[in-house]
Symmetry: C2
Subunit: 443 residues, 2 copies
């Protein structure tokens, strides 16, 4: 290839390569999620990256629709790359409902694509880890979701975190009660306004709320006050909420269930560095939520935003099937979490550094290969010199971070012995018998 | 949602959903590959699904170019989904060459996309597992690749398999020697013809060879005979090859190195159900191979074709950089391997069935949650009843394949006891103390 035929090695903007260290940390987080999910009885599924555009579009709002990577395939089909795992999962459940046993607890880990503006911790390709329980509308299912996300985050070195739990039906009831005679369509702008409370502050939210036709300025003030004020534990005050909604049977039921859920999740996360906070101002945008909703922030990386969120929905697959499938679930944004860990200097991995077998002379290659395989069979990671000159092999072993280099040449091969160097101390030993190598390295 | 607004839940042709059992088997194979690769000092990397079209096109032949999913993105960029992991890896190595330490041993597991005609074991989205060693042109590196793929396949329940190893430079030398005065451009059609030997038979290959301008009919016959005839071990006869190429120094060096490689790989795979066979007719199509090439077939699923293949190349990233980076590597087609395992009835997974905690009465929910968390903390998978009625919970536990169901109601919660039923034998015990639950289940 001549110089003028060469092209620049370039990635697309918003897309990432994963070098070994970062990739190892990423895989370890995935393994933690898989392990904790399996312990809680979640089963892993997979769906394709590409779906019919009609399956995906119109499900994530206009903004999301615009960000979808959509094109025409070889068979003139209108197709798109998934922008989340929830919409394909709805299609999956409808298609395979007779092969699944409900309640179905699922884990899915997969990349999704959005052509959005890039910023810190946000990429155009990013990995979502979704846990959902489909076919159960019970407090037990809500608890399982919240507690499992807690356990997962407690097993990752992301430091203290807060899971803020809201309840969409209670928030709606408060809006209806306090904001005055809103018609049904006006509830959505009120939810959107309240969801911005932490971001734009009470005064700006008050402006948004009073701009809604039929809303009451004093009521808006009272609603904001209720949502902003916290009890001594930092939670939205349940007594005040209960007082406001007294007599509304449906809300009283929801309140009672929410208390059961919070108590159980708190009981099951004792000793973890995760906190559960009741925060009724958590509304999770528009969405399809009908019960609990939650968001999770890290104390060590507040700028990254929520790294895990979700909630309860009452009809996952209604676009595809008449079967009503209530569920509860949520998602960990793996790449956002990884960005947070990078920010905190907590990108670690426990990948074992290999023992390095240096090959001093060509006639020792076969013997060196034998030693390498012996170590691997004993579950000891091992690498071998693959370039000429012993000095180069030692330099490479040093760059790899190997603790020990075993050297063999023709005379060692003949005598079935080896020399070993401790790369930290520089201490060397020679003429040790090969038969004792595994035991020597284990000690 | 009304009936008329509903759409059909449909996947794109050639794309697969993975239900839990198949997905668990798939993940276990990936885990095996990761474990064996890590033991051999390979480091995992990741690259994006989408690349600039110029990065990908023109690299896999015209047929592959036609199959690429290519489109214009939101920023009017000409982009495409990767059709393999090798071409993006070349871009990765060129871009990050100063961050990597060579020889660099890499593992990459990822989905790739080709809009090709679907057939058994072939999908439009499929997962590749690539191992490569870059920056080493040595027998040691060849051995590492062949031996590591051997170890991986020996750790997967795919039964006996054969790794057929060829050598492109030796094959080229034999073609030049026996076929007569071919010009350089005529070597390629000869390689393509020989690669079809197993598929179309000696007579048809002879027709193809003699149709090449300048080829010699008797020489073609001799070449085919040499490639078809095997020694008592089933290998291409090295003595005959050595005789044909005697005096050609370069070929003699390659022959010597090939013998070293084969001997070492055989020595390191003793006791496995994998066989190494020298088969100089393995040409691996056009490709960029310059040394060993290999293909792997399963005795139990010959119709699936090669499930792992690769070879040596001398210039991975020449399109992007003037730095010459020789390497050796290969790929396992995970979904083709999975199709083979399905055909052989060997799709198994060792995911532990959870212990099921049934909740007899609502007032026992919090106690049940506590038991569930206790089990999980002790690394025992546990699930909990999430639907009304004990009978439904037992039915669900049965469908999940749970071996034991622990039942708790209000009285058990008060006394901190539990009842347990062995779902195989039907044997039940009551009023056992909760403090002994973990020990009871471990025994």
């Amino acid at each position: 290839m001549t110089k003028k035929d060469r092209i620049q090695a370039a990635r697309l903007k918003g897309f990432r390569d994963y070098l070994p260290q970062l990739m190892a940390a990423r895989l370890e987080i995935m393994d933690t999620i898989r392990r904790e999910a399996a312990l809680a009885g979640f089963q892993t599924i997979g769906t394709p990256a590409l779906e019919y555009a009609t399956t995906l579009l119109g499900q994530g709002g206009d903004e999301t629709d615009k960000q979808v990577y959509r094109f025409t395939d070889h068979g003139d089909r209108d197709v798109a790359l998934r922008f989340d795992l929830t919409v394909p999962f709805a299609r999956f459940v409808a298609e395979h409902q007779n092969e699944l046993s409900f309640p179905f607890k699922k884990l899915q880990i997969g990349d999704v694509w959005r052509g959005e503006n890039t910023q810190k911790g946000r990429y155009r390709e990013f990995c979502q880890c979704d846990l959902d329980i489909i076919g159960a509308d019970s407090a037990a299912a809500d608890i399982e979701i919240l507690a499992t996300f807690q356990r997962i985050l407690a097993s990752i070195p992301c430091g203290p975190f807060t899971q803020a739990v809201g309840q969409r039906r209670l928030l709606s009831a408060l809006i209806r009660k306090l904001l005055g005679g809103l018609d049904e369509g006006a509830e959505t702008p009120a939810l959107i306004a309240i969801d911005k409370l932490a971001k734009i502050g009470p005064d700006n939210v008050h402006k948004l709320l009073t701009a809604i036709p039929g809303s009451d300025s004093g009521g808006a003030r009272a609603l904001i006050e209720l949502l902003v004020s916290k009890d001594s534990q930092g939670d939205t005050d349940m007594h005040i909420v209960a007082g406001e909604l007294a007599g509304d049977e449906s809300s009283e039921r929801e309140l009672k269930r929410l208390q059961v859920v919070l108590d159980a999740v708190r009981a099951s996360t004792v000793g973890s560095h995760g906190q559960v906070r009741l925060d009724l101002s958590v509304a999770r945008g528009l969405g399809y939520y009908t019960g609990i909703v939650f968001e999770t922030t890290l104390a060590g990386a507040p700028g990254i935003g929520s790294i895990s969120s979700g909630g309860r929905y009452n009809d996952l697959a209604g676009r595809f099937t008449s079967r009503e499938l209530p569920g509860v679930g949520g998602s960990i944004g793996l790449d956002r979490l990884l960005a947070a860990l990078e920010e905190m200097g907590q990108v670690t991995s426990s990948v074992a550094k290999p023992i390095f077998i240096a090959v001093a002379t060509d006639d020792a290659l076969s013997y060196a290969c034998e030693l390498v395989q012996t170590l691997r069979r004993a579950d000891i990671a091992a690498d071998i010199g693959m370039v000429p000159k012993l000095g180069n092999q030692f330099k490479h072993a040093d760059r790899l971070g190997c603790s020990f280099v075993v050297t063999v040449g023709g005379s060692e091969a003949a005598a079935r012995t080896y020399a070993i160097k401790d790369m930290q101390t520089g201490h060397e030993e020679r003429d040790l018998p090969a038969a004792g190598l595994v035991a020597r390295l284990r000690s």
